[in-house]
């Protein structure tokens, strides 16, 4: 191989994020500025990265339009700049921005550790961003680890609290285990195909008949399990409730949303691009995981008395719904669902943080009694977000669910769709339960003040939930064009 081509431009967004992280840390060491200054640096790198992603979006569209998509493969095929990568990265950046805003009160409260938190957030985003843009399974693993390790640390940031420690350790142990499974799966796929690059794997599988594909299949299974852990799909979800409950409220929405977006984009890329000719082998597995996740998540969420654990189990159910979209065989529904759900999740945890204090670990249902009176803004926003997650019409959640259901139905998984609609009704029950506490229970306890940044996050999340529920075309068109190479 000749000298590897270096295309700095392609990974400029990730470089900007990493530089931002380093800058934040160095400034903290050198000048100890106010948190606002560090926040401005972080915001600057996010905005630049996002702006650059927009340019890449048009580049990707032009390259596909010109019939020469191979120029999107850079770094000798390690990184791919296709629509899926750019869309996924943009979603990650948006969630990061909102996550930092939602957790700003928390970051400020951490004092000296605030800078570390900001830097870790930027690093996690850089890692996941690499992950969604990887055409190479090893590269993908690197991105996954950079992102995940940052998240483990973030979970334990408020280390004075035993719950936070417990969450961090649990997340770290189970997460590393999942990463190990993933990398072992990558190794087996390599053993079976001789390729690390996803596009090369696809070409290999479509041009050769593999007589004994057992090694590839085991590798595929391990990759699915590893990513299933990251997106908290059942039966690999057991860490999620404890981590969601224990990690600081200010940051947990960000953590959960990032892992979901990156994990599902990677899963969709591997299954729908690399292994699409083995579809008949992985479809039943993924459909089974989807059905199990929906059932387990919805039913266990019913019996929770803690809003965060409830959101964790609802996240398991949502992983199942998104898997239904993967079964449907197109990235459009998956991407729309991911963006919609990620925004709602970040905002929902912003509400949790506002109600129970940003570093706290307690968020029992009782704390939400009469919330609609104590803070009409929080109450109404949370209600809209919950209806959105429940998938009621006129919210983006309905469009998202409808999209993945329709795809799954047309690819012949009628039973999965029926299971999905029935579990969505089960899920209504626990979303409504929170609303009962907020609206149907009068308690004139002290009013809750909403921090301004949280207000912005709520405005964005509630606004898009309603906007995309009524006019979904703007986002659906983008998602439909965000195709993998």
């Amino acid at each position: 191989m000749a000298t590897p081509e270096i295309s700095w431009i392609a990974i400029l967004p990730e470089l900007l994020l990493a530089l931002g992280a380093a800058g934040v840390l160095l400034m903290e060491v050198q000048w100890k500025p106010r948190p606002t200054v560090l926040g401005a640096v972080a915001a600057g790198s996010l905005v630049l990265a996002a702006g650059f992603s927009v340019i890449q979006w048009f580049q990707a569209g032009d390259a596909v339009g010109a019939g020469d998509p191979s120029e999107l493969l850079v770094f000798s095929g390690l990184v791919v700049m296709d629509g899926l990568a750019v869309f996924g990265r943009f979603a990650l950046l948006a969630v990061t921005g909102l996550g930092l805003l939602a957790g700003w009160r928390y970051v400020e409260g951490l004092g000296r550790r605030g800078a570390e938190t900001i830097a870790l957030v930027l690093l996690a985003t850089a890692g996941f961003s690499i992950m969604v843009a990887s055409n190479n399974l090893v590269m993908m693993f690197l991105g996954l680890e950079v992102g995940s390790i940052a998240l483990y640390v973030l979970a334990g940031m408020s280390r004075e609290r035993a719950r936070s420690d417990e969450a961090a350790i649990k997340y770290f142990l189970l997460g590393s285990f999942a990463s190990a499974l993933f990398v072992y799966g990558v190794a087996l796929i390599y053993a079976g195909t001789g390729e690390f690059e996803i596009i090369a794997i696809r070409e290999f599988l479509s041009s050769f008949v593999v007589l004994s594909p057992a090694v590839i299949l085991i590798g595929m299974g391990l990759v699915i399990v590893g990513l299933g852990f990251k997106v908290s799909a059942a039966p690999f979800h057991s860490w999620a409730p404890d981590v969601y409950q224990g990690a600081p409220a200010g940051i947990v929405g960000y953590m959960a949303a990032m892992a979901k977006i990156a994990g599902f984009v990677a899963l969709a890329r591997i299954l729908l691009t690399g292994l699409d000719s083995l579809e008949s082998r992985w479809l039943p597995v993924v459909a089974g995981i989807a059905a199990l996740s929906m059932l387990v998540g919805s039913i266990l969420a019913l019996v929770q008395d803690d809003v965060r654990r409830m959101l964790a189990y609802s996240g398991v159910a949502h992983a199942g719904f998104i898997m239904t979209g993967v079964v449907g065989g197109s990235t459009e529904g998956v991407l729309f669902y991911l963006v919609v759900y990620a925004l709602q999740l970040v905002a929902a945890f912003a509400v949790v943080a506002a109600v129970s204090g940003p570093a706290n670990s307690e968020s029992g249902l009782d704390a939400y009694r009469g919330l609609s009176r104590r803070s009409p803004l929080l109450g109404a926003s949370f209600a809209v977000l919950l209806f959105g997650m429940a998938g009621l019409p006129l919210t983006s959640g309905f469009i998202a669910k409808f999209g993945v259901f329709a795809q799954a139905w047309s690819s012949g998984f009628q039973w999965l769709v029926v299971a999905a609609v029935v579990t969505s009704v089960i899920a209504f029950a626990f979303y409504l339960r929170i609303i009962v506490f907020m609206y149907m229970d009068d308690d004139d306890a002290e009013r809750i003040e909403v921090p301004t940044p949280v207000g912005w996050v709520l405005a964005v999340a509630v606004g898009t939930t309603i906007l995309w529920g009524i006019l979904p075309g703007s986002l659906l068109d983008l998602a439909a064009n965000a195709l993998p190479l």
Partner: protein, 508 residues
Amino acid sequence: MLTWLILLPVIGALVVLATPGRRKELHLPLGIALSVLPLALAIYVFAVFEPVAGYQMTELQTWYEPWGISWSLGLDGISMPMVLLTTILVPIALAASTSIAHRAKEFVIFTLLLEAGMIGVFVSLDLFLFFVFFEAILVPMYFIIGIWGSDRRVYAAMKFFIYTAFGSALMLAGIIALAITHGQQFGEVSFALSDLMRLDLGVGAERWLFAAFALAFAIKVPLFPLHTWLPDAHTEAPTAGSILLAGVLLKLGTYGLLRFNLSLFPEASVDSVWIMGGLAVIGIVYGAVVAIVQPDLKKLVAYSSVSHLGFIVLGTFALTSGGLQGAVIQNVNHGLTTGALFLLVGMIYERRHTKQISEFGGLQKVMPIYSGFFLFMIFASIGLPGLNGFVGEFLVLIGSYTTLPALAVVAASGVILAAIYLLWAYERVFAGLPDKEENKVLSDLSIREISLLAPLAALVILLGLYPNILLDKIAPSTEGVLDHIEASTDYQVPQPGRLGDVFVAEGD
């Protein structure tokens, strides 16, 4: 125009939302005033409505093209009366809610949003759009029951929501299946009702889809044995909630059966007339028998709804002219009379804070005007000739006797049972001398309360004496439904089923 009919209540809700929360005395009058605007528009729509088959005032706007969904609205003789009924009942329900002092602003907002959703359901010609409205109305109703209901309100609200959402979830799968089948047969996915009526589904799939839709609507109606949510929801809901629940929300079920099941799955509909009619008749008798023994006045009216809606479903699946016309007009009649009965129960509840029949007695001595209205509405509900209930039930019984004679005979007993439970209730509450001290000091109806009941009473008489004012506009559309069924199946309406247009003498 139909878009405005949906948007006016939404705009009204936004106006109320924008008024300051401190001006508590302002919200309800403002809401009533704003809800008169859609009523005025609906009356205009009624006036210009042509008595012809097919949809009128149609509007079509692409919503999201790749998915084949559109903002497609239209009105025919089946939906027009329902829109009119909705817009009549909402101002009355709001005006009946003066006792709601607590969080009145939210109450008005939810009621207006509910109105928009209900109108939306009736005017949608796109199944996706229909489903959006059908499911969206659960939310305001859930809040209305859950916040302003009585003691077990949260339980009732949850039960209402989950029950009906369960039915519609399977219908959603059915809608997806229809749209995708259209994609397979005609090359593009479509949710338009007129497109989906052309599908060739095959017997097996058609039966499944019929079942999915029928389940959703049967829960809504509610048809025996899926009715158990209804007594809870009715008893716990505030008066306005009960009026709209009985008056309009239940009709979404009967309307859906008539509009979607008959048109989309004609073959399966013809095959299932005995099952659906049988369930309807069981509901008629069961609802009436259970109503007899109710100690609670509101529950009694609730169970009478189960019984009365059985007639509508029976008429629908009679598949004759009389049956269908009777079903449509009985939708309106039941909305008027039962709405009025719930209103009356609410008025006595405000005075005595109880709905137990045993707590009353001899009220006609103390409250003669109230008793008069109550008796009048009871007669309308029983189906006394000259009042509206008679027209609908008579048409249904004639219509169903042609095709389902055995069921029609049993159903007729429902009329007698209705007389038993309603008149017996009247006797216990109103007849004799007041023996309880609390009852002796009750005040009779105020001018305001009379002005709420008078329009309903006037409509009851109008539709009883001159039903053609509606039937003329209904008949072409119901005939259209029968034409479609005859054209797409081997079924022929047996004579004299097609001549059952007793009340449509002129012009035919």
